[in-house]
Amino acid sequence: MQLNHTPGHIKHSGHNLTGFVIFLCSESIIFLAFFAGFTLFKLTSPEWLPPGVEGLEVRMPLINTVVLVSSSFVAYFAERYLHKGNLWGFRIVWFITMLMGAYFVYGQYVEWSSLEFGLGSGVFGGTFYLLTGFHGLHVITGIGLMGLMLYHSFRPGNYEKGDMGVTAVSLFWHFVDVIWIILFVLIYVWQRY
C-alpha cells in the first residue's frame, strides 16, 4: 500500500507550554479585576483611608520590589546555565532566585505585622490585604515550584525531553514580577491623591 499517512500522534510534551501560557493569560485577568476594583474604590470612595491611618510607608516595600524584580533577571541567568548544560551553575543561581523570593515574602510579613489597620478596615484595608495577599500566595507558589524544579534537576535523565518545566516556572516568576510592579505603582506610588 502506498499510503501517505502521516503519523498522527503529535507528542504531548509540546503542548504543555502552550497550555501553561494560556493559563497565565487567564490568571492575569483575576489580577486585572482586582486592580480595576482597587482603582474604582480609590476614585469613588467617600472615605478612603481608615481613621488614624496616614498612608503607607514606602521605603521597605521599595527594597522588596528591587529584590523581587532583580530575581527575575537572576532566574533568567539560571535558565541560560541550563541551556548551556552547566547543571551546577543552574542549581546555584536558581537557588539564589528562590532565596530572593523568600526574602520578599519575609519583607511582606514584616510589613504586614507592622501595620495598624486590618482586613476589615474599610475598602482600603480590604483591597490592600487582598491584593498583596493574593500576590504573596503566587510568590509562595512560585518558590514551591522552583523548589520542585530544583529537586527534579537531581533526577537522572530529567532533561532528556527538554527543560519545559523550568521554562514554565521561570515564565511564572516573570509574571508574578510584572504583577508586583503594577501593584506597587497602584498601592504605594499612587498614594498622593
Partner: protein, 311 residues
C-alpha cells in the same frame, strides 16, 4: 430560486410569489405593531407613550424578521423535503458574497436606526438624575442634588426590607405615594439595607435603589388613578410583597390630601412583610433563614392595601 436557471431569464412566477409574500409579511408586521399597544398597562406618565411607540416599532421590525424567516423555513419544509429513501444531495451552493454583504449591511442599518431612535426616546424620558454616594449613617438629604425643573418634590422614597415610605418636603409621611397630575416630580431614592427598585409599570419607569447612594429621579404622571408600585430588584424573603400604590390625582385633591394628612398623628404604615413574618413565627418559624423585617415605618397616612388598583 427554486429553479437553477433564474440567473438568465427572470422567473416571473418566483418574483410574484416573493412580492406577495413580502407584502403579506409587511401587513402582518404592521398588525402586530398596532396590536402591541394593547399589551401594556395604561399610559400614566409622560414617558409611557414614547416607550410604547418604540416598542411598537421594534415589534413591527421583529415580526417582519421572524415571520419572514420562519416563512422561508416553512417553505423549505413544504417543498424541499426529500422523498423517503432518497439519498441524493441538494444543489451544492457554497455561498454568495453579494448576499452576505446584503445581510450584513441591512441588519447593521436597522439596529443602528433603532439605537439612534432609542437614544432620542431616552432623552425624552429624562428621568435619571445624578447618583451620589454618601456614608451610610449620615443624613442623605444633605448630598442629593435637586432637579431644578421639577415643580413637586423632592419626595424622599425610602425602601426597606419590606416596606415603602414616602416623605414629602413639608415632612408629611405616607405609605402610599400621592402625586399631582401633570407636574414634574422629583424623588430622592434611598435604601438603608439592600438593593430595591422603584418600578411603576403604568409609568414605564424603573430605577434601582442602591444603599450608600442617593439617586435623583424625576417623572411626570399624566393620568389619574391608582397604580401599582412594585419593588423590582430582588430584596429577600418577602420581596414579592414589597408593593404599594401610587395615587395620581388632581392638583386640588393632592393639596387637600397633603393638608389633611399633615394633621394625622404618626402611626405604623403598610409593612406586608411584618405581617407575614409574624404569621411565620406563630406557625413555628418553619422555612429557611431570613433577616427579620424592618419595623413598620411611622407615617401620617398608613394607606389601605385592600383598595383595588387600576393597573
Amino acid at each position: 430560486m427554486t429553479t437553477t436557471t433564474n440567473n438568465k431569464s427572470p422567473n416571473v412566477g418566483a418574483i410574484v410569489i416573493i412580492a406577495v409574500a413580502v407584502a403579506l409579511n409587511l401587513v402582518l408586521a404592521v398588525l402586530m405593531a398596532r396590536w402591541s399597544y394593547s399589551w401594556f398597562p395604561p399610559q400614566a406618565s409622560s414617558a409611557a407613550p414614547y416607550v410604547d411607540d418604540l416598542f411598537a416599532l421594534e415589534t413591527g421590525i421583529g415580526s417582519f424578521l421572524w415571520f419572514g424567516l420562519t416563512g422561508v423555513i416553512g417553505w423549505t419544509l413544504l417543498f424541499n423535503r426529500a422523498p423517503k429513501y432518497d439519498e441524493s444531495y441538494g444543489e451544492p451552493i457554497e455561498g454568495n458574497n453579494r448576499l452576505e454583504i446584503t445581510w450584513t449591511v441591512i441588519p447593521t442599518v436597522i439596529v443602528f436606526a433603532i439605537a439612534i431612535y432609542s437614544m432620542q426616546v431616552n432623552d425624552k424620558l429624562d428621568a435619571l438624575g445624578p447618583k451620589q454616594k454618601y456614608a451610610l449613617g449620615t443624613d442623605p438629604a444633605t448630598v442629593a442634588a435637586v432637579d431644578p425643573r421639577a415643580t413637586v418634590g423632592p419626595i424622599d422614597v425610602i425602601a426597606r426590607q419590606w416596606s415603602w415610605e414616602f416623605i414629602y418636603p413639608d415632612g408629611v409621611r405616607s405609605s402610599e405615594l400621592h402625586l399631582p397630575i401633570n407636574q414634574r416630580v422629583n424623588f430622592r431614592l434611598i435604601s438603608e439595607d439592600v438593593n430595591h427598585s422603584f418600578y411603576v409599570p403604568a409609568f414605564r419607569l424603573k430605577q434601582d435603589i442602591i444603599p450608600g447612594s442617593v439617586i435623583s429621579y424625576s417623572l411626570t404622571p399624566t393620568r389619574e388613578g391608582r397604580f401599582r408600585l412594585r419593588d423590582a430588584m430582588f430584596s429577600g424573603a418577602y420581596f414579592s410583597q414589597n408593593q404599594t400604590d401610587v395615587i395620581v390625582e388632581s392638583d386640588e385633591a393632592y393639596s387637600s390630601w397633603l393638608k389633611a394628612t399633615a394633621k394625622q398623628p404618626l402611626q405604623p404604615g403598610l409593612s406586608p412583610g411584618s405581617d407575614l413574618y409574624a404569621k411565620r413565627l406563630a406557625n413555628g418559624d418553619k422555612g429557611w433563614a431570613t433577616v427579620p423585617p424592618a419595623p413598620a415605618p411611622l407615617v401620617n397616612d398608613p394607606g389601605d392595601a385592600s383598595i383595588p388598583h387600576d393597573a
